[in-house]
Amino acid sequence: MKSTEPFNKVAPALIFTYGNPSRGDDGLGPAMHELLEKNKQDSDDLDKVDLLTDYQLQIEHAIDLDHRECVLFIDASVSADAPYEFHQIQAERDNSYTTHAMSPVAVLDVYQQINQRKPPTSYMLTIRGYEFGLGQSLTEQAKTNLQQGYEFIKQLLVTDIEQWPEIRVSDDKDKK
């Protein structure tokens, strides 16, 4: 289908953020998207990356993964260690089909099933959030975590993708 192909050529790397900006710290994903967009023009590294955002993940997002070499999903988390967690993810059949929202690993699995090939190498950055009420803005702590997450992404972008699996979120005190 032609209409599933993007207007413009896709970049090999995709950063996909998701969340509802009117749900307190659930807006961490979209806030990161804004931050990245804002700095995109001034950054040669960011310029090579496509940025997408949505309220939540769904089956059609498997199509956004087409022609990618690497995908980084970014979401808020109420259980991640502050300020963020980072790890590689694989296609997996989990229980997230139980609502209209899917997990990144389930989206990867849909990609694998409909294309009969492995999805792009994918990673998950979960940023710790605290309050998720309707109409709330980001908490101060979440804003701090967001900024630290952004610094981490900048570090990722100057690192060869093949070396990403070696990157560990350090537990040094400075970060926290």
Binding site: D75, A101, Q113
Partner: protein, 501 residues
């Protein structure tokens, strides 16, 4: 109503203190949190059945204090599932506020195109992702198999078509609203962009394929129904009133029109009612066990005036579809009612797919209409203090009602969302299933799933888009006869279950 007599006695048990309370929570494959509570006695008879849904009341407060011109964008954040429905309902309400009694042809057609795209993608997700597993594999199938992965494994082409139909609808939304999310396409009095030739050609390139797949989907659901016809026609079936918007000429219309309500025999209760007068025809009842309201048709009262909205109501209520393939399917659908409205709850799926076909045909018509490239995008008139917008969202009739002050700030907001309109009907369907299938049996996952299947047919949107990873999205409560919590299980998005009491 005959089924009401059968089932409403199960709403409140006479001696709940002697009963075991079984809570089915969450309802899988419906949005957000829902909880079904069944009270079962020592002989395993169902004595009480209730559907508890988190209410949307925080929404009105969220809106109050904001300027009216922000509403079409702001309200999209109420729900990550149907942001376009809220976007368009709010836009229609703000049309009224800015005194735009009519839209330009370009503005109206672009909004309609957006709405067809939204309905197409929403219905495609529901059928191919959430419900086809039930219908394709049967309700007794392994729960782990009855999901999109199961569909893909057994019918890879159907699953892929579902993904691509959904994606096509999303592309229509993106192009008409300007963005994938938080689109600003509809604004008070019109739209902020037309469509370029490049955009139209892009969408046209696949529309024939989309229509073909939509027709295949209708054929598939008819085959599924015919294979177990009696079962599908009787499962969770209730006799209900039905309400929807209707075009001036009686045509199926999901964007604009008057309100039409029919009773369970198909007799008109009211017709072509100006929706800005909805308060004279519909009231929102309350029950002491639920935070969600129970709307009813005022002239019939709360006991008999509840109704259904959504695809089943729309296809039953309309006189015709304006597009030929959908109209042909409507006639076949209506024939199954033998002169009466089709009341089968599972027929929601059939009606939903007829709507998908209509949306695909209507998108093609609009893509060939030169008005969508027009330059006149806005109309305005004298500012009004009240704005009421009503559309047929994928799940049913959606009301947005705002009152603003002299500074243009929203002082009062009232939203009646589709799922609220179907609240009583979903309860009735659950009671029907509970009395028909669970009574006297030991509970099993397959039997419990039948309750969920009944609710899923309505495609309820039970919550909104908070979904942060790790957040506890699912909860199982065990409460005693005094409604005291004595146990609770929480299920994480990973499937891990924790006891938290």
């Amino acid at each position: 109503m005959s089924s009401d007599k059968i089932t409403s006695q199960l709403e409140t048990a006479k001696n709940p203190e002697d009963l075991e309370r079984i809570v089915i929570n969450p309802l899988t494959r419906v949005e957000g949190h829902g909880k079904v509570t069944l009270l079962q006695d020592e002989n395993l008879n169902i004595k009480q059945a209730r559907l508890h849904i988190s209410e949307f009341r925080g929404f009105e407060k969220f809106i109050q204090g904001r300027p009216y011109w922000e509403l079409p964008v702001l309200v999209q954040r109420l729900c990550g599932i149907c942001p376009v429905s809220h976007h368009l309902a709010a836009a229609k309400a703000t049309d009224m506020i800015v005194g735009a009694t009519e839209l330009t042809p370009t503005a109206e057609k672009i909004r309609r195109l957006m709405h067809f795209g939204q309905t197409l993608q929403s219905h495609a997700l529901h059928f191919f992702h959430l419900c086809s597993p039930d219908l394709l594999f049967g309700f007794d199938d392994d729960v782990r198999h009855r999901n999109i992965i199961g569909v893909i494994e057994d019918s890879p082409e159907i699953a892929k078509q579902g993904v691509l139909l959904r994606k096509y609808g999303q592309e229509v939304i993106r192009i008409t609203s300007g963005k994938r999310v938080h689109g600003t396409g509809a604004i008070p009095g019109g739209v902020n962009k037309n469509l370029s030739k490049k955009e139209i050609d892009y969408l046209k390139s696949d529309i024939e394929q989309i229509i073909s797949w939509s027709q295949d989907a209708v054929t598939l659901i008819k085959r599924i129904f015919s294979e177990h016809y009696d079962y599908h026609m009787s499962f969770a079936t209730i006799d209900s009133n039905m309400m929807s918007l209707i075009g001036n000429d009686g045509a199926f219309d999901i964007y604009h029109g008057g309100l039409r309500a029919k009773d369970e025999k198909g007799k008109i209760i009211f017709d072509h009612v100006d929706y800005t007068q909805y308060g004279d025809y519909i009231k929102e009842g309350v029950k002491n066990w639920s935070y969600m309201k129970f709307p009813f048709i005022t002239s019939l009262g709360q006991d008999d005036g509840w109704y259904r909205v959504g695809p089943l109501a729309r296809v039953n209520n309309c006189d015709f579809f304006t597009t030929p393939m959908a109209e042909k399917e409507r006639k076949e659908f209506i024939e199954t009612g033998k002169g009466l409205p089709v009341q089968s709850t599972l027929a929601f799926h059939w009606a939903r797919l007829i709507e998908v076909l209509h949306c695909a045909e209507a998108i093609k018509e609009l893509l060939n209409d030169s008005d969508i490239t027009g330059k006149e995008l806005l109309n305005k008139g004298e500012l009004q203090s009240t704005g009421i917008g009503v559309i047929e969202a994928p799940r049913g009739t959606l009301f947005h009602h705002y009152e603003i002050n002299d500074d243009g700030i929203v002082e009062k907001a009232n939203l009646i969302v589709s799922t609220t309109n179907n609240n009583q009907a979903m309860n009735e369907s659950i009671r029907q299933v509970a009395s028909q299938y669970l009574d006297g049996n030991k509970l099993s996952e397959a039997l419990l799933n039948q309750v969920e299947v009944a609710v899923r047919a309505y495609d309820p949107c039970l919550s909104c888009a908070t979904h942060a990873m790790g957040k506890m999205p699912l909860q199982i409560n065990l409460v005693n006869e005094n409604d005291e919590l004595i146990d609770r299980l929480e299920k994480r998005v990973t499937g891990e279950i924790n006891r938290t009491v």
